[in-house]
């Protein structure tokens, strides 16, 4: 009987631990925050001082007599504009 109770407690504690995965508490806050925050590698593209307006980019390219590099994507990395 005691063995059975032990087995039940072990199974119950495993089940509880599994249930607690991916939970957000004061205790787990830092763990998740530190993982979700973009890494230096994720943000490598931000080292370029991108302009965010095609119009302003063309005018600046004209003033500087340089060609313009345009990165135009929906949603990422500079949003839906």
């Amino acid at each position: 009987m005691i063995k059975l109770i032990f087995a039940f407690l072990i199974i119950a504690s495993c089940y509880n631990e599994k249930e607690q995965s991916f939970t957000l508490t004061e205790k787990t806050y830092k763990k998740w925050r530190d993982y979700i925050v973009p890494t230096e590698q994720d943000l490598a593209w931000t080292r370029i001082p991108w302009r965010t307006s095609f119009q302003e980019g063309l005018i600046e390219a004209g003033e500087k007599q340089k060609p313009m590099l345009l990165w135009a994507m929906n949603g990422h990395p500079l949003g839906c504009t």
Binding site: T23, W32, P38, S53, G79
Partner: protein, 304 residues
Amino acid sequence: MWRLQRVQDEDAFVFQEMADKGHYRRIGGTRQGIYVCSPSGMLLSSINSLNPDDVLKMIENGLVNWNALPLSDRKISSDFEPKARHRWENSYPENGMVLNLSKIDLFSDPPLQSERSDRWNRDFVWFNNDEVSQWIPENPQEGYVYSLPDILLDRLFCFHLVDNTRGQTLPFAPQEIKESHIEIEVTDISNNSIQIKISGNSKAVSRGPWLLGENDWTPNYELDHGISTNLLGYATYDLNLEKFTAFEIVSIGSRNGKTQNNGRQNSPDSGYIGFYFTLAKDIPSERIAPAFVDVYNADWIVQP
């Protein structure tokens, strides 16, 4: 990007004419990609690729073509001024609060950097001055607990706590937010600043017909998808400056289903997403409008 390839505006016309000669070589459809062009909008080279070597080669080709251009083609004429009559960024809340929101898939607990997805996304969350004041109770006292008003709950749960980690998704209609609650607890008041703890949860379920009317997001078919979230965060409000000087929220979302363009074709039907909100910097690349700005629940956003 959406604006440049879709709207009837002078700067958009210059882009559309250039992009139609680019890698897709067709009029209409998506014009997403990476381009090198002259100041007058003459296409020099383009590609839509995630391969850095191919992109570098395209840029080098663009430079070769630029150097081959006669001087007259490198200049812009004095009357060339492709004005943008409307940009969502013109509604940037100068005296409000802008949050930088990062999101990424969570595969394991504890999370492993070795398993980190190379796909993540970001968005910006806008609040005007009046909305910022609603994050703080009117007469804050230490220990006071305050429920965040519906307008701010909808802002977060309809438009930002969504599954666009791998691609573009859809907003939720307010009726699709089945549960939503955020509690603000005043944890400390001292030195003219208020410390608050933010906690809450939500459940959004989208099943059946699209509820947000005819707009640019209207899907071609009905899509079942949803997300449940838990949130926890901390912020500091400066009473003298009348603004937040620190603000962060972490949220874990349990998602299910997929939408038309959110890149879940090869993903399991359900999974976890991590969200992180923090104050955006006042730099050009962080003054971008929210992805769903055109359907935002904010009447101070200037429409075209």
